[in-house]
């Protein structure tokens, strides 16, 4: 009970901290959005027309009232789910813009995260199970070498090889210019094709953390007395590896996985940027460079809430998976 109250309290406190941080960020930064938008539009080598600057400033509006009143208005708007109008996509609202981006990120990053976790856990468990064999060395060293490649760099090479040179896959974007987003097969196959390279660059570098984490955990659990006793009991290697090794070793990774899932909402800035993938990460970078504060604030909020919820779910899942925690929770 207290456990739940504590978690909920922490949840709210963090949410408040995130919201407040969001409120403060634009107010602590130099420069104004109108200038940023127009500078980007005209480029650095042409003069910005002061009249145009003035018009854009009028359009975006400036917050009025003292800081406290602004803070109150801001909280009120948030409570009503009003995130304001995006400075980049004026006059569209932040909700419109994010609504378009979310599915892309959810699918691309979600699928690759889950696959990475799955692949990483299986390979890590296998490496631990075959510890000190060649399989182990191949997996650990192989994943080390492949997994440490900077994935933005890898992404560039993938584009060059598979998109530019071989032309197997498109060079970027979530879908082609020719297809209209919609619930049809053609669009899905197009979208899938566009997701292969970004997905691949995430998948190549994604599992290493899980592999090494799982391997380490499992080497430890397999070294525990209960695993030794299981051997003495004459259980099959498989049974030992699964029930006495992997089953326990996976537990500490659950939290990490939940956080990884939670941060999906944040997207992957680098990959989405390189592939022009229409997801949240690229949106974030765009919001930041355009000083699109409403959009940025909301993205921040979404990401934080995502991580918080994931953390919360991880705790619940942990309690479900690990009987040792379950008891404390029930008490």
């Amino acid at each position: 009970m207290t456990y739940f109250v504590r978690r909920a309290g922490f949840f709210l406190a963090t949410l408040w901290a995130a919201v407040t941080l969001n409120f403060l960020i634009p107010r602590l930064q130099p420069g104004d959005p109108a200038q940023a938008i127009l500078s980007r539009l005209t480029g650095k080598s042409q003069a910005v027309d002061p009249a145009q600057l003035e018009a854009v400033r009028k359009m975006l509006g400036a917050p009025d009232g003292n800081l406290l009143a602004q803070y109150g208005d801001y909280l009120g708007a948030l409570a009503h789910g009003q995130f304001g109008i995006s400075y980049t996509y004026y006059p569209y609202t932040v909700t419109d813009v994010i609504g378009d981006a979310i599915p892309w990120t959810l699918v691309l990053v979600g699928v690759t995260q889950i696959l990475s976790f799955f692949i990483g856990t299986v390979l890590g468990a296998w490496a631990a199970y075959r510890r000190n064999t060649r399989a182990d060395s191949w997996i650990t060293l192989g994943s080390t070498f492949v997994g440490t490649l900077p994935f933005f760099w890898l992404a560039l090479l993938l584009i060059f090889v598979f998109a530019i040179t071989l032309r197997w896959f498109p060079d970027g974007g979530g879908y082609g210019g020719g297809s209209q987003p919609g619930w049809n097969w053609l669009f899905f196959s197009d979208a899938f094709q566009h997701s292969v390279l970004p997905g691949l660059s995430l998948l190549i570098t994604g599992p290493i953390g899980w592999i090494l984490g799982m391997r380490n955990n499992m080497v430890q659990t397999l070294g525990e007395d209960y695993a030794r006793l299981a051997r003495a009991k004459g259980l099959s290697r498989r049974r030992i590896a699964l029930t006495y090794g992997a089953r326990i070793a996976i537990l500490p990774n659950v939290t990490g996985f939940a956080i990884a899932l939670g941060s999906i909402l944040g997207g992957t800035v680098l990959v989405e940027t390189i592939f022009n993938y229409p997801g949240m990460g690229r949106l974030l970078l765009e919001a930041v460079s355009n000083k699109d504060f409403p959009l940025m604030q909301t993205l921040f909020l979404f990401t934080t809430v995502g991580v918080l919820i994931a953390n919360f779910l991880a705790d619940v899942a942990y309690g479900f998976l690990d009987p040792r925690v379950r008891r404390t929770e029930a008490a």
């Binding site: 539009l41 002061p50 854009v56 009028k58 210019g177």
Partner: protein, 559 residues
């Protein structure tokens, strides 16, 4: 070699074959039949179309910072003042006349129809301007910032009359930059400031919007266009290319665009060389990029000092090394030459370009009382070594490289110069508030001569140090300049205008409020496999920013 990579390879291959299977084949888009048999160009691939990384439909011409580029092909203007030589090309108006210095009358073209079939009239024009009056946030060109008082349809709905309370000549280009929208649609719009005009935007232009997805915007030829006979392009496809990174560069260099306007390094090698016959570019000069000195500080407040520095900078090296040879040396007059050469005062040497001559600079400085000490340090009038900082946004690498050369030049003259590289935001803010010693600034380059000189030099447009200046960032305050600007503002005849401009260029060359180094380039690449007739250095009939003009010039390539 290893377990995982092997499976990765398999995965790649699997996915590849799967996706090939799913879509049948890729790359068909490029297999085009370029020129149609009907003497038309089937379609052209253009570059980016604005609207951020994930554009949403927005064809409101009064939201220039947010509209998609199709808007410029749908909504037209009374006249087009093309951006290279500032020629006035009649468009929705056939002619204009200053009936007196405070009254401007346009003759509206007859027989033009909106693309929904309704006729275009002078009422529409008046409506459009009055809409901007009502919603000042939409007035992005600042038509009503001038002394304009009213816009009315006159002459039996065939003329539009603009009335000013003071001589309003300078407002002319602003008026010509304002798009005209249909009254029958826009009068029903509740809030035009948030109107996206997303569905079938109605305009008089040569194209209508065909389709949009965030990757591609397609517009198609308007068969009922008032000069439809001149438009030979059936369809234009704009491709999302906002990243400007390697991939875009590669696509450009492979000739995937018929027209593009982006930076690409070493263009001769990476673009032209790929297909010298068809891959072309034309980087027309834009605004002047100048060395700004803080005129409120010593020794920059000394005109002799500033004049001495005009020969101090090695423009050619800046252009060759830092600017990759893409730009041209700027004239000290503040004009963009050769495009604006007609404004040059008589007898000026080399169109006002001042050659690099460190010895002359050294001599002039010494003569002005800034001597070098025994250690080679340049001393101020107070006898102390002159030292100042040069601010340049760290992220703008070409500017940084240019600054490096400029600083090297200054150091060789005995100044102590420290380079500071703040973020662009901070640098811009510092420049506006006057918190700098020396920096780069941009000014001029438009066809509105008044704006070109008033923005950087008008004492109305400056502010004390610490406050944001509107545009006079060097803090130039000079009665003679203000007077010349006032003359220019009220001058309706070209002769009077030329006289005032000549005076202003002399302020630039004699008083040296700033030292122009190079002209910012307007990126413009084009391909002649499908279409010919693009503007270029040989035939600079329009600038990169005047697509409506090229559209009436492009013809199918003959091969």
């Amino acid at each position: 070699m290893m377990r995982r990579p092997r499976s990765t390879t398999a995965l790649v291959a699997g996915m590849a074959s799967l996706s090939l299977f799913l879509t049948g084949c890729t790359g068909t888009e490029n297999a085009d039949a370029s020129a149609g048999s009907d003497g038309m160009i089937n379609y052209l691939n253009f570059g980016d179309f604005g609207g951020g990384t994930a554009p949403k439909a927005n064809y409101n011409p009064y939201l220039p910072a947010f509209k998609l580029s199709a808007t410029d092909y749908v909504h037209e203007r009374l006249m087009i003042v093309e951006g290279t030589k500032c020629r006035e090309v009649p468009w929705l108006a056939t002619s204009y006349e200053w009936t007196d210095p405070k009254t401007l009358v346009f003759d509206v073209r007859q027989g033009v129809k909106w693309n929904d079939g309704k006729p275009f009239t002078a009422e529409d024009v008046a409506f459009s301007f009055n809409l901007l009056k009502k919603h000042s946030a939409l007035d992005s060109v600042g038509v009503w910032d001038s002394d304009l008082t009213s816009v009315k349809a006159t002459g039996g709905n065939k003329k539009v009359t603009f009335s000013f309370d003071k001589p309003g000549a300078t407002a002319f280009t602003r008026i010509t930059e304002t798009a005209i929208v249909p009254e029958h649609i826009w009068s029903k719009v509740k809030d035009p400031t948030t109107f996206t005009n997303a569905k079938n935007p109605v305009g008089t232009g040569p194209f209508t919007v065909k389709s949009l997805n965030p990757r591609r915007l397609v517009i198609e030829r308007n068969p009922d266009y008032w000069q439809a006979d001149k438009v030979k392009v059936k369809e234009i496809r704009f491709n999302k290319a906002d990243a400007g990174g390697q991939v875009e560069q590669l696509k450009l260099s492979r000739g995937e665009y018929d027209q593009q306007g982006m930076f690409i390094p070493d263009i001769k090698k990476s673009y032209v060389a790929r297909d010298p016959e068809h891959h072309k570019y034309w980087y027309a000069p834009g605004g002047s990029i100048s060395v700004y000195m803080n005129l409120t500080e010593k020794p920059f407040d000394d005109v002799k000092f500033r004049r001495a520095l005009t020969t101090a900078f090695d423009d050619k090296t800046v252009i060759r090394k830092a600017q990759l040879g893409y730009v041209k040396e700027a004239s000290q007059t503040g004009l963009v030459v050769p495009g604006q050469e007609k404004w040059l005062p008589k007898g000026i040497e080399d169109q006002g370009r001042i050659a690099y001559d460190p010895k002359a600079a050294d001599k002039a400085l010494t003569k002005a009382g800034y001597e070098k000490d025994s250690q080679g340090r340049r001393l101020g009038k107070d006898g102390k070594p002159i030292s100042f900082s040069f601010k340049v946004p760290g992220e703008w690498t070409d500017w940084v490289a240019s600054a490096d050369i400029v600083i090297k030049n200054l150091k060789s003259l005995g100044f102590e110069v420290e380079k500071e590289t703040p973020s662009p935001d901070a640098a811009i803010e510092d420049r506006q508030t006057g918190r700098y010693d020396m920096t780069f600034g941009v000014h001029g380059g438009s066809c509105n001569m008044y704006n070109n000189f008033s923005d950087p030099l008008n004492s109305d447009r400056t502010a004390p140090i610490g406050k944001k200046a509107m545009s006079n960032e060097v803090r130039w305050k000079d009665a003679k300049t203000d007077e010349l600007l006032a003359d220019l503002k009220s001058a309706t005849s070209e002769k009077d205008q030329k006289k005032a401009v000549a005076g202003l260029t002399r302020v630039m060359t004699d008083e040296v409020p700033m030292i122009p180094i190079w002209y910012g380039a307007k990126w413009f690449q084009y391909k002649t496999t499908k279409a010919v007739g693009w503007p270029n250095a040989e035939n600079p009939y329009a600038s990169a920013a005047d697509p409506l003009l090229w559209m009436t010039h492009l013809k199918p390539a003959k091969d």
